[in-house]
Amino acid sequence: MIANPSNGQELPVGAAASSPTGDDSKAAASLAPSMERGDQTSIMSLRAIVKVYPGVNALKGVDLDVFKSEVHALIGENGAGKSTLLKIACGAIARTAGEVKLEGQKVEFEHPSAARTAGVVAVYQELTIIPALSAMANVFLGREHRKWGFLRRNAMLEEYSELQRQLDVNIDPDRPAGLLSIADQQSLEIMRGLAVDAKILILDEPTASIGLHEREALYSIVRKLRSRGVAILLISHDLDEVLELSDHITVLRDGLKAASRKREQWTKQSLVDAMLGDRRSSAIIIHHKPPPSQQEKLLEASDIDVPGKVQGVSFNVGRGEIVGIAGLVGSRRTELLRAIVGMEPGSSGKLRVKGKDAGWPTSPRAARKVGIALAPEDRKHQGLVLSLASYANVTLPNPWKASRAGLLFARREIARARPLTEQLGLQKGALRREARTLSGGNQQKLVLAKWLGMKMDVLLVDEPTRGVDVGAKQELFKVLDDLAKSGVGVVIVSSELEEVMDNSDRVLVMSRGRLIGEVEGRKTSKDEVVQMIFAAEPESAREHS
């Protein structure tokens, strides 16, 4: 990789316009030197990309260049236009204006498969693995080695092991992909991309759904690919990850490029500032509330068993307390929460709510009756009905309250939903829109608003910040904090250990379906918990710590 300052990339036409707030004069000054990147020709360059959705101008003229052997991170708040830009780059959606060039040639991708053939490979947050097919069948899907219409298994096996060697992974080719860990499924997707000789690999939130120890494996794959000359375009909400992996970081804000600089010129703070723009001054500071009294136990759960998953877990939640649950992927935190709201068939345990025996719920409906609700991890399928209007999602637990004699009127429903969503900082215009059209952070707010209105005693929150940007993350925790202050017991599960530690009064540590310890939140160091987890998971600890 030879730096060539004299032959650097030309200043993009839209550069002046792309930082209209002018909040980053230093960025403008450093624009020219930041252009000396790797080889002089970019692998992919996007010019003045505009995308208009009905009612939303998602991209307002964005330029982006991705160079050979470069990890280029694209960050921004939810709704900044990152995903839209990625989807345009790989042909998943059509752009309204602008042009896409691949190795200097103008290209029009009608479909992601055309982009894939040209060497532009995207791995989305929602994986496209077919669970019932074997790992190998997934990798070769659509481009099987064949002769006379029959599969050539040996030829495929050979290539499969070559791909595995390149990525340094080891996945049984005959195992149904659905049984693999999410990290392995991701590896399969990447292998699928490499099999077509990827020039540029697009990763959309690759670590959002995988645990601590699996991330390192992904990082090493990314570095390996970079050293082979592949360009990597990465979207991530995890700024530490971005700073660790990337060579170049572009920040999008409100459909425009806010800044684009080399990694060395960024700090975590400057990234956050660039993402938030004008709003940085009003960034929310989380107020830690005083530790709640543990006098009144809201929830006492004991001897929870989910066959094959959770074993003998007991814990309690006090009034106004936030209890975090930490653990690696596979620690069965989600299953524990699901069991408490009656979503895990065959589970058993004892439940006391406000000192009274509540029986073991066998359906979410039964759990709701005793005052327990779950805001699930999978917002799109489990948290919201995407085809309904946002306000209808908020009133869905009990539309009767917003009705007159059983009839519903949009105005009355909105009047009921608005105070709840306002608390969460959701813009009022969003209420009338289909839930499908909201960004991840706003969807999460809808899920919480839904339960705010029901005055539950205990709210279980699974991965509240997954796919949510920095600004909204802070807002969400502020809401959960307020909720606890108002006397609700809150249980938070998150893969982000830091998040759990910083926002919980108490942290339960789980490993492989068992409770292995309990520490005080905020006062305990993260390292201590990590050690606790790895001590209980001997194999994975040795591999990755």
């Binding site: 009905p54 919201l384 085809s387 309904l388 209808a392 869905l396 519903l408 009127f409 949009a410």
Partner: protein, 337 residues
């Protein structure tokens, strides 16, 4: 209330009024055309037919059409509930024939209102069993109701010895052949069913639940909705309306027989789809079903007038069903991308 019926599919306002409303003018226009496309088609068809066939708009002809299309229309009202809830009901033809046969047979010995009420009760029970099989035994709705249709048709033929139950009593023909203020009673029933169904679906809590389970079953369950009962009630409604339709046809024909329900369910589903209701559930509206009835009624009328052979009629109806769905998904794609 009217606002609720006429409003839209899932209670969503499609003209987005968020941050930047002005940029939205053209796409919203396109959206509008795709949304109300079938209504425009209906209006267009009406005009063309009225020009080509002056007798079409005569009051007698229209009232006849209303009488003729009432039985499938009544079933389509129920089917709309089932389809929006994400289900399917292939047993309506069986229920229709069973109710026709039962009401005719009972009318031979019992007072006619009793015969009708008992037949509708039978339809509700069939719907209840459908719902139980689908929600408790977790059998795919398509399969469960296909099987139920066979069972009900078969049992009707067995119990009636495959003989028509002929009713001589003229009072039996009031339901299907009578008029109120000059309007055929079946037509009145259909209009009432469409209006009540529209209000329940578009404006009531139960209707909201139907859209919710159709759009997101898992999310609805996690929200604490009793998804099984909601789903089951939709099949009960369909069963009851199919039975009412059966009583109407028996009354019109003066007899009930086990084989009159063959393939009826497909015609009913055609109505619902042609109106533009999403087969995948979660989206749709009663006015769409009303539009579907209108379109098919006018087409049927023109076919008869122009003496198009039944085989060609089938070909054209097939093209229209596919066309309706293709336009719908094309419209959605355009709006989304």
């Amino acid at each position: 209330m009217l606002e609720n019926i006429l409003k839209n599919d899932a209670g969503v306002e499609l003209a987005v009024t968020d941050k930047e409303p002005k940029r939205n003018v053209r796409p919203a226009g396109t959206q509008w055309i795709f949304r109300y496309g079938m209504v425009l088609a209906f209006i267009g068809l009406t005009i063309v037919t009225a020009i080509l066939d002056p007798s079409f708009l005569q009051v007698n002809n229209l009232l006849n059409l209303l009488r003729q299309w009432a039985p499938p229309g009544l079933m389509a009202v129920g089917m709309t509930f089932v389809i929006i809830s994400g289900g399917f009901d292939l047993s309506v033809g069986g229920t229709y024939a069973a109710a026709a046969t039962l009401s005719a047979w009972l009318a031979l010995s019992l007072p006619i209102p009793v015969a009708i009420v008992v037949a509708i009760f039978l339809g509700s029970v069939i719907g209840l069993i459908n719902g139980a099989v689908i929600t408790r035994l977790e059998v795919n709705p398509f399969v469960a109701t296909l099987g139920m249709g066979f069972i009900v048709t078969g049992l009707t033929e067995v119990l009636s010895n495959a003989m028509p139950q002929i009713v001589e009593n003229p009072a039996f023909q009031i339901l299907g052949g009578g008029d109120i203020w000059g309007i055929p009673i079946p037509g009145v029933l259909l209009v009432i069913a469409l209006l009540v169904g529209g209000v329940v679906l578009g404006g009531s809590v139960y209707g909201r639940y139907i859209y919710a389970i159709g759009g997101g079953d898992e999310a609805s369950r996690l929200t604490g909705l009793h998804t099984r009962s909601i789903r089951t009630v939709a099949y009960v409604i369909t069963g009851a309306l199919a039975a009412l339709a059966g009583c109407v046809i028996a009354s019109q024909l003066g007899e009930g027989q086990g084989d009159i329900g063959r393939n009826v369910e497909l015609g009913v589903i055609t109505i619902v789809i042609v109106g533009g209701n999403a087969v995948s559930g979660g989206e749709g509206a009663m006015w769409r079903t009303a539009t579907g009835i209108g379109i098919l009624a006018i087409l049927g009328n023109s076919f008869d007038h122009l003496q198009v052979s039944t085989f060609w009629q089938e070909v054209i109806e097939g093209l229209i069903v596919i066309g309706a769905l293709a336009i719908d998904s094309y419209g959605k794609r355009r709006v989304q991308s």
